[in-house]
Subunit: 106 residues, 2 copies
Amino acid sequence: MKEGERFCPVYAAIELLQEKWTLHIIRALLEAPRGFNELARAIGGCNSATLAQRLARLSELGVIEKKVTSHMPPRTCYSLTEAGRALEEVMRAIEAWGRRYLRVPG
Amino acid sequence: MKEGERFCPVYAAIELLQEKWTLHIIRALLEAPRGFNELARAIGGCNSATLAQRLARLSELGVIEKKVTSHMPPRTCYSLTEAGRALEEVMRAIEAWGRRYLRVPG
DNA sequence: TATTGTTGATTTGAAAAGTCAAGCACTTTA
DNA sequence: TAAAGTGCTTGACTTTTCAAATCAACAATA
């Protein structure tokens, strides 16, 4: 919450997007729906405990959707909801900025 | 780095923006240049140790600029560089998304 | 047939990151 | 004269993230 205790959706959006791995998850899911481990690999090796927590939170907020297609062996599919897909504009802005202003360090 | 060890500017941009407080800092500085404590208050009470570290990193990457106008009593002014100002588009996208999709919880 | 490798998680203890409170040396305000 | 403000730094403490082990069931390999 913060910012004088009244709810600010922009502050809340920033709080959400700045959680570690969240933007990477969005980026990967914008590309294609994925399973749990597949997603972990796609975003560059997030550990499963953190990933599970992020996915739970994003699901709870209605940004992503989880479909279980098999129980044992486990098989799940995570995809973006409409709200999630709307983050494509944020991603595009970040991509454009990164390509324009970030260079290989050293 | 990650993503097969070759440098990906988009991955790097995400890594930068997902550091805690970074987006809040950008947002506050897009509004106006500010001093250290003023900035801490504006973004909702980030502690000084973390803030100092974030500002150092952003400065190093050329996103913000630090000007010392007085040594004792100390007085500094942080502002965005061109690269920093270019993040306005990212902020605008985040703002639009937050207002459209985030509601007061409960 | 037996081993190995998948799948989506959860649990562990240890490492890393972030927070908190105090303090610095000095000016301005009350 | 005292209190409050400036921009940080330091060391102790708490929270978050981490890698590794583990699970049951099946597929593919040896």
